[in-house]
């Protein structure tokens, strides 16, 4: 796939997303306000009822910053779309046309995925600015060029890991007529074990040690901690390595599953 074609796909998908303005703004405004507010109500109750000023290293204002940042990171990682169109294309047989195109299906889908990230960038810019004005989320973050570079890299790796993780699940569609339950299951797990529902610091230490070796942390919690400068250079490097290893492992699994599914695919849909 040439860079020009990549950009064309990207711009096409962006125009498509902006064509449904009501959907876009509902998911943007309420999709930001409600989940963050819901998490903060819980922590407000916990701080008030436990009488503690600091819980798992977070003050209440630290929690606010964490939840806002994890939401912003989530927009970059997920890009507001769930990638289930791959299984739909297997079901209705429209995968055939992509196989015939002189380009990689994987790269085509990644360009489409990145176009959603470009939309998310607008959301992050708007809400990041508002969140800073109201809560001063950037006040405690010291942006050194190295931390900024590491943060950008953590985000890019998280985004790619999220994209790659969806593929073996989507490829199950070659054999089964429904994969959404697999996606839903992965989403529950990654939100809980990745630090979206609660910061991972509130988990017991033994469990946190296990989580460090699983891929979920590197989707949400790790990029936030790198951006806020909470990780040491050794932790950052180890995080990059674990994340890269997971990308390779899932990539190999995807390749095997996809190749077997491809042999199974008849092009007429299920």
């Amino acid at each position: 796939m040439t860079p020009r074609l990549f950009l064309t796909v990207l711009s096409m998908e962006m125009r498509l997303a902006f064509s449904y303005r009501f959907d876009f703004w509902v998911s943007t405004i309420l999709g930001f306000v409600l989940p963050v507010a819901l998490s903060l109500f819980i922590w407000q109750a916990i701080f008030s009822e436990s009488g503690s000023e600091v819980i798992a290293g977070y003050t209440y204002s630290g929690m606010i910053v964490y939840y806002i940042l994890v939401w912003l990171v989530g927009q970059f990682v997920q890009g507001g779309e769930d990638l289930t169109d791959i299984s739909d294309e297997i079901y209705d047989g429209s995968l055939t046309k992509y196989i015939l195109y002189p380009m990689s299906y994987f790269l085509f889908k990644y360009a489409s995925h990145l176009s959603h990230i470009a939309i998310s960038f607008v959301q992050v810019l708007v809400f990041g600015t508002l969140a800073h004005l109201f809560f001063g989320i950037l006040n405690d973050i010291s942006f050194t060029p190295a931390a900024l570079l590491a943060g950008v890299m953590a985000l890019m790796m998280a985004n790619f890991l999220h994209f790659v993780l969806a593929w073996p699940l989507e490829a199950v569609a070659f054999w089964q007529d429904n994969v959404w339950s697999l996606h839903a299951m992965t989403r529950f797990l990654s939100y809980f074990l990745g630090g979206v529902f609660v910061p991972l610091a509130v988990f017991p230490e033994g469990m946190r040690e296990v989580l460090r070796w699983l891929p979920f942390e590197y989707l949400y919690s790790f990029p936030v901690r790198v951006i806020t400068g909470e990780t040491t250079s050794v932790e950052t490097l180890r995080g990059f390595i674990v994340c890269a290893v997971w990308i390779v492992i899932v990539g190999i699994i995807t390749r095997i599953v996809w190749a077997r599914g491809d042999r199974q695919y008849t092009g007429v849909g299920i």
Binding site: Y20, F41, A45, A56, M185, F188
Partner: protein
């Protein structure tokens, strides 16, 4: 006259089970998915209670009863209502609603109840088991009557939530897209997954009346532990009746705007 509705529903169940048996892997995936969801939901509260002894005035045992009530309600919703409600906006957009409007039974009854998700039925049994477990492990005796009232209220809460879901999607009669409405519904319904006692007073008023998400499990749990009074039961019945009346009125308004295929 009214007897035909239960008979019709039995036919829906029969079709649903024979259809579910054709897709055994989906059957299996759904069970695993829901078990993961149950575990994550309980673990979420378990982790929070490592840092506090009370949440919204509730102990961990009370929150487990609330969570089990919510899970039970969710399982009923997923099994009985969700598939029909999921397809409902598509039927409006494609004009498939015609097929339901010409039938000599209530269109909203058929649309919401026709597609019984037999592949979620086992999850409903598991969720019922979780509810029994959460009530049985509660350290103090709760009494038969309060528990019975709690279960009935969770049922009513589930129907109320299903009607809210329909209300959120009825604007599809006037708009072309429905994804935004659906997302809005999901976001609002998240408020039912936490005890309503953690919210500020003005949000509590909203989730107990206009958007009665708290009636699903939080308010029934609150009544279970705070005591049954006529005023509290009256509140649930009033909100339930109001939601039914509003849904039927809104539905009839939507039908007036329906112009058959590709509306």
């Amino acid at each position: 006259m009214l007897l035909r509705y239960p008979v019709l529903y039995l036919y829906f169940l029969r079709f649903a089970f024979s259809r579910a048996m054709e897709f055994r892997f989906d059957f299996f995936f759904r069970i695993v998915m829901d078990i993961v969801y149950y575990v994550v939901t309980f673990a979420f509260f378990g982790v929070l209670y490592l840092h506090t002894s009370l949440l919204g005035g509730w102990t961990l045992d009370q929150t487990f009863v609330f969570t089990a009530g919510f899970i039970f309600c969710d399982a009923i919703y997923m099994t009985v209502f969700s598939t029909g409600i999921w397809h409902f906006p598509f039927r409006i957009n494609k004009g498939d609603l015609d097929y339901y409007l010409v039938r000599p039974v209530s269109s909203i009854f058929v649309l919401t109840l026709r597609e019984f998700a037999a592949n979620s039925f086992l999850n409903l049994l598991i969720a019922a088991g979780v509810l029994v477990w959460a009530i049985a492990r509660y350290p103090d005796p709760l009494g038969f009557l309060p528990v019975a009232v709690f279960v009935v209220m969770v049922f009513l809460g589930c129907i109320t939530f299903s009607l809210i879901s329909v209300c959120f999607l009825i604007p599809t009669f006037w708009t072309t897209g429905h994804e935004g409405l659906r997302k809005l519904l999901y976001l609002v319904s998240d408020f039912s997954e936490r005890p309503h006692t953690i919210y500020p007073a003005w949000i509590q008023r909203i989730v107990l009346t206009i958007l009665p998400c708290a009636l699903i499990s939080s308010y029934p749990t609150w009544i279970l532990f705070e005591g049954i009074t006529p005023a509290r039961i009256g509140h649930v019945l009033l909100v339930f009746t109001g939601t039914v009346a509003f849904t039927l009125w809104f539905w009839s308004r939507g039908l007036k705007a329906y112009s058959s295929a590709s509306s």
